[in-house]
Each structure stands twice: as structure tokens, then as C-alpha cells.
């Protein structure tokens, strides 16, 4: 499915968070949304996910969802948002609850997604027993088990250490190659965007405006190969010049609240 964001603006009281964002996430691609902190990227994701109402503008979904799709649009959260009183399998089952599947269908789906995300032996564990990486795999599995058409990822790797992040990037690429979906990926990490995205949308800071959309010419499967390094490094440099001054501004800001 395709996501069309049309003229979305958002105000929090007197603060203009987003200003006239229009962009399309194409069927089957990963669009990374990057920008300095305070550019409203999470706000935009919240609006796309139906958790926030935009002040003006709208978000449209078009196209056909996959055959076994229960929920066209699901979320992966930065802080995992797992229920500590539920086991891994029960946490994954939570997103199936509103769909009234018979028990055997539910178990089937959970079992399949546990395998896909490498959580098979952790089904009965509680979140507190798991590492951050494993917790985010549960978050991912919970979002994928309903077979969404669109996956919204809100800085999914930001709470993880560098090595775990690397492992999860590899796994996400493998999962996306197997399960077709459209992804909107919010991050402040350029390397993550350059590794995972097909295109990168750069937002400006307060009010968040769309500055540029950059197409990464290198296919996803080649990104970690040495041959791709010069092209990616050039892109990295170009994106960093776009963001740098505003990131510095965000860094120096004193919050009066």
C-alpha cells in the first residue's frame, strides 16, 4: 500500500510543530524520515498512525493490503512499549486481540512470527528477562504478526547499543525481503537511514518542513559492501551538511517549560 501525506500541519498550542508536509511513501519502499531533534518527525509518524490529529491536512492510504492483513498500519516504538506482565508470546498476541481469530489461527500466526524474528526459544520469557535487542524483536514481531501493509517505525534502534543495532538492521532487511510491506522509518541516525532506506526525507527544525528527498541509488543488498562505501559516504556528507546547522541549534536550545 501507498501512504500519501497531503499538506499536513500540526500545532501544539502556540508551537508550530509541522508545516505543510506533503510526501508519498511508495508501495514496498522504506522511506526514512530524518531531521534534528524537535523537527516533528515523531509527530508526523503519530499523525500517519492515527494517534494524533493534524491541525490541517490529511493522510491517505491507497492500494490493496496483503491477503492475510488484519491491520493495515502498525507501529514499532523506540522504548519497545512491551507489557511487563505478559510473556513474549502474550505480548505479540496483544495486537491480534481486536481481530477475534480462533485460538488455533492465533497460535499459528504467533508461532510463525516467533520463528521469523528469531524469538522461538523466548516465547515464555517475560520482558524483564530479555536484552534490549530481544525486547525490540518482540516489538517488531507484535507489529508484524497482523501482517501490516504499512509499518511505522519510530526510532526503533535508538535505545540499543551499537552492536545490537547492527544485528537488528541485518535482521530487519532480511524480514523485509520476506514480508512485503511499506515502511516509514523515523530516525535521527544517518547511518541507519543510509543502511535501511530506499529514500530519505530530510525535515527542517521547528516548524518541521520538508527540505529535500534524497534517493539512495545503491540497492539495499549492496549497502554493506565495500564497493558502495564511496557513494554512501558522499551521500552522508551531503545529508550532514543539510542537517548540521540545525542540529547545532537544537543542541544549544534552552528549554523553558
Amino acid at each position: 500500500m501507498e501512504v500519501r501525506i497531503e499538506g499536513v500541519s500540526h500545532r501544539y498550542g502556540g508551537l508550530q510543530a509541522l508545516d505543510g508536509i506533503s510526501l508519498t511513501v511508495r508501495e514496498g519502499e522504506t522511506l526514512a524520515l530524518i531531521g534534528p531533534s524537535g523537527c516533528g518527525k515523531s509527530t508526523l509518524l503519530g499523525i500517519v498512525g492515527g494517534l494524533l490529529q493534524p491541525s490541517t491536512g490529511k493522510v491517505l492510504l491507497s492500494g490493496k493490503p496483503p491477503a492475510d492483513c488484519l491491520n493495515p498500519l502498525t507501529y514499532v516504538f523506540q522504548d519497545f512499549a512491551l507489557l511487563p506482565w505478559r510473556t513474549v508470546a502474550e505480548n505479540i498476541g496483544l495486537s491480534l486481540m481486536p481481530h477475534g481469530l480462533p485460538a488455533n489461527k492465533r497460535q499459528e500466526r504467533i508461532a510463525a512470527i516467533l520463528v521469523l524474528t528469531g524469538l522461538g526459544e523466548f516465547a515464555a520469557a517475560y520482558p524483564r528477562q530479555l536484552s534490549g535487542g530481544m525486547r525490540q524483536r518482540v516489538g517488531l514481531a507484535r507489529a508484524l504478526v497482523v501482517r501490516p501493509a504499512v509499518l511505522l517505525l519510530d526510532e526503533p534502534l535508538s535505545a540499543l547499543d551499537a552492536q545490537t543495532r547492527e544485528l537488528l538492521m541485518e535482521e530487519m532487511l532480511a524480514i523485509w525481503a520476506q514480508q512485503r510491506s511499506t515502511r516509514l522509518y523515523v530516525t535521527h541516525n544517518l547511518d541507519e537511514a543510509l543502511r535501511l532506506a530506499d529514500r530519505i526525507a530530510v525535515l527542517s527544525r521547528r516548524p518541521g518542513r520538508l527540505r529535500e528527498i534524497v534517493e539512495i541509488g545503491v540497492p539495499l543488498s549492496e549497502r554493506s559492501k565495500p564497493d558502495a562505501a564511496p557513494a554512501l559516504a558522499a551521500l552522508h556528507a551531503r545529508l550532514w551538511t543539510l542537517i548540521r546547522s540545525e542540529a547545532a541549534e537544537a543542541d544549544r536550545e534552552v528549554v523553558n517549560a
Binding site: 507501529y75 507489557l83 511487563p84 506482565w85 496483544l94 495486537s95 517475560y126 497482523v146
Partner: protein, 266 residues
């Protein structure tokens, strides 16, 4: 390098401390020491037994009272009142408190009443309750229920507030109904706060049962302690106090077990 090694010395240790490490024997030593001192002061006549009876005398009084079964009969009366009052106050308090935790309108309506009525020492209402319900059991149970009600309301809605909002947003993002969010996310998330509220309300129930029994009762630990005082039987009086201490410990032990079972996911 060789001349350096001449002046080399180990890094001095400067960490450690400022961390509670339980010392197993110390509590027992302290306990025995205090009891021995107390006993000695009484035995050598420094303290008059009427003023403060010796530990031995209290022990003997406790033994006689349990042999005759008198103390257990009083204990039974008190326990009955605590259980009835606490159960009614907790049930009503949870109902009101959770409603206030879930619905903004209910919170806005209830908050002024709770703020105004919570600070009243509920024992002050006993005379009124006696006028309403008579001198018997209902007025005592009512004063305990009232005393338990308000702290339970407050702990229930603050427990709802303490459930991380991101968990609720997560539930919404997966299309869970409001009912499911309440039963699967809000209530389990509020459980730790509700259970720690139980500890507070149980101790309030214990205070109020003694106070109510001292005002108008023939049976119950409070009545027993009062009449022992009137007869200057300080050994019996303190035996009753010891029973209260044991009762308090027992209640908190039971609540602790309930907590570890309900919150076994922690």
C-alpha cells in the same frame, strides 16, 4: 622503566561503603540486649511493675490469657470488624478511585470531595455514626470503612496515572478497544500502586478498630486494653499491645505474599 618501578605503588582503595549490607546477628543481639536490660531494671526494682511490668510478667500474662482463650476471643472480634470494614471501604474505594482514574469528568467531580473529606480523622465521625447505626457493630465497621475508603480512592487514581502513557498509546495503535485497554493495560499497570495502597489502608483499619473499641465496646482488643488500664493491670494491658503488634505483622506478611504473587512478573 626500571627507575619508574622503584617509585610505583598500588592504587589506594577508596571505594566501598554507603551501601546497606544486612548484618544477620545484629538484630537479635539488639533485641535480646534491650529485653535483658528491661528485665534487669524491673527485677532490681528500679522500675515499679505497675508503671512498666517486666517482659517476663507480660509473657506470663500472655500465656494465661491464651490458656483461658480470652485474648483470642477479643482478637476474633477485632479481626471481624477489620475484615468487614476494610473489605467494604476497599471495594467502594477501588470502584470510585478507578472510575476517577479512567474518566476525567469523574475525577473533576470527585477530587474536591476527596480533598475536603480525606483529612478528617474518621474517628471524629464515630459519635455521628453511632447516632445513625446504633452502638453495635455497624457503626464500628462504618468508621473503619470510611477510614479505608479515602486513601484507597487516592491510591487507585494515582496508580492509574502512574501507568506509562506510551503503553496506552501502544494499545491504541494496535486498535484495542477502550475496554481492552482498561483490562489488559491500565488495571495490571495500576496493580503495584493499588497493592501498596492496601498496606496503608490496612494500618489505618488497625488504628481505627482499636480507637472504635475503646469508645464503645465490651469485646475486642481495644476494649480489652482499655479495661486493663482502668483496673491498673498493666501486664494485661501490654499483653494486648503485644497482640496488636503481632496482628500488624501478620497483616503485612499476608499482604506481602499477595503482592509477590500478583506481581510475580516483576
Amino acid at each position: 622503566m626500571p627507575e619508574r618501578s622503584e617509585t610505583s605503588r598500588p592504587v589506594p582503595f577508596r571505594g566501598g561503603g554507603f551501601h546497606y549490607v544486612p548484618r544477620k546477628a545484629v538484630p537479635w543481639i539488639g533485641f535480646v540486649l534491650v529485653l535483658t536490660l528491661w528485665q534487669a531494671l524491673c527485677s532490681f526494682g528500679v522500675i515499679s511493675p505497675l508503671f512498666l511490668p517486666s517482659p517476663e510478667a507480660i509473657g506470663v500474662a500472655l500465656w494465661r490469657l491464651s490458656e483461658s482463650g480470652a485474648i483470642f476471643s477479643h482478637l476474633g472480634w477485632s479481626l471481624q470488624r477489620i475484615l468487614a470494614g476494610w473489605a467494604i471501604g476497599t471495594a467502594a474505594g477501588l470502584l470510585v478511585g478507578l472510575t476517577m482514574g479512567i474518566f476525567s469528568a469523574a475525577r473533576s467531580l470527585g477530587l474536591p470531595f476527596v480533598s475536603a473529606l480525606f483529612p478528617i480523622p474518621k474517628i471524629a465521625l464515630l459519635p455521628l455514626l453511632i447516632l445513625w447505626f446504633g452502638i453495635g457493630e455497624p457503626s464500628k465497621i462504618a468508621v473503619i470503612a470510611l477510614g479505608v475508603f479515602f486513601p484507597t480512592v487516592i491510591s487507585a487514581y494515582t496508580a492509574c496515572d502512574s501507568v506509562p502513557r506510551n503503553l496506552i498509546r501502544m494499545g491504541q495503535s494496535f486498535g484495542l478497544s477502550g475496554q481492552t485497554i482498561v483490562s489488559e493495560i491500565l488495571l495490571p499497570g495500576a496493580m503495584p500502586g493499588i497493592l501498596s495502597g492496601f498496606r496503608i489502608s490496612a494500618s489505618i483499619a488497625l488504628i481505627l478498630v482499636v480507637a472504635a473499641e475503646m469508645i464503645g465496646a465490651q469485646h475486642g482488643i481495644g476494649a480489652f486494653i482499655l479495661s486493663a488500664g482502668n483496673l491498673m493491670q498493666t501486664d494485661q494491658l501490654l499483653a494486648g499491645v503485644v497482640m496488636l503488634s503481632i496482628l500488624g505483622l501478620l497483616i503485612s506478611f499476608i499482604l506481602g505474599r499477595v503482592e509477590t504473587w500478583v506481581l510475580r512478573w516483576r
